[in-house]
Amino acid sequence: MNRWRTKREHQIYSSKLFQALCRSRRTSSSTSAKELHQTADRVLAITAKGTSRWSRAILAAPLTAGTNMKKHKKAKVTVHTRLRKPVVNREKKKLPVVERKLKALRRLVPGCRKLSCNNLLEETSDYIAALEMQARAMTAITEFLGRGEAQAPTDRQGSIGNM
């Protein structure tokens, strides 16, 4: 499976991401790492064109604003012990290792918590390939911008288009 591994896809993602970053820079003076990561994930999901569950899940997730927003945790309601049902199965074993690991995997891949085995495989391999490409692309962009900086360290007015 060549998905996410072609040069073309890398270029498409890189340029889409860069344009998105430029756009967001126009509206705010600085970007937090978290916002940037979120943008990178959303552009990655868009590049997937709705063909995978993980990408649809990313696009469906609400945007978290800034770094101050804590993840909203459900308040734990403590029930008065007398009202609580007795613990039924005292011999309840911990889930076997494999089950636990599968559960962990389902949590790592967006949108896959209740996915069947076969579909989980497809989503996992697609997600991993996409993440690998995302890392390659972001590394390339950072190096590229770093090179631009190195060539014009004092002249901040010069645009990279003059390279």
Partner: protein, 85 residues
């Protein structure tokens, strides 16, 4: 026997999944490692995904610092897009 959870899978399904996941991990290349336990493969897969996500975290930090220190006014995104190709 009624399955207790919707995530219950058969042994065959599990083995097939594990073998195919193993191919995603170059460090567990079958020709060199032969049969690896399901738990280990799943562990490696999860670690790998976490590692990739952390890598992107780091790159996001570097990239945001990089962008913040640059003057992007007058930037022609079209030119850069072409340059990135």
């Amino acid at each position: 026997q009624r399955s207790t959870s919707s995530n219950k899978i058969t042994d065959d399904e599990l083995n097939a999944l594990i073998l195919r996941l193993q191919t995603l991990l170059p460090q567990l290349d079958q020709s060199r490692h032969g049969r690896v336990s399901a738990a280990k493969v799943l562990n490696e897969i999860c670690s790998y995904i976490r590692r990739l996500q952390k890598e992107v975290d780091g790159l996001s930090g570097r990239l945001s610092q990089c962008l913040d220190s640059m003057d992007l006014t007058g930037f022609d995104a079209e030119i850069v897009r072409d340059l990135l190709q």
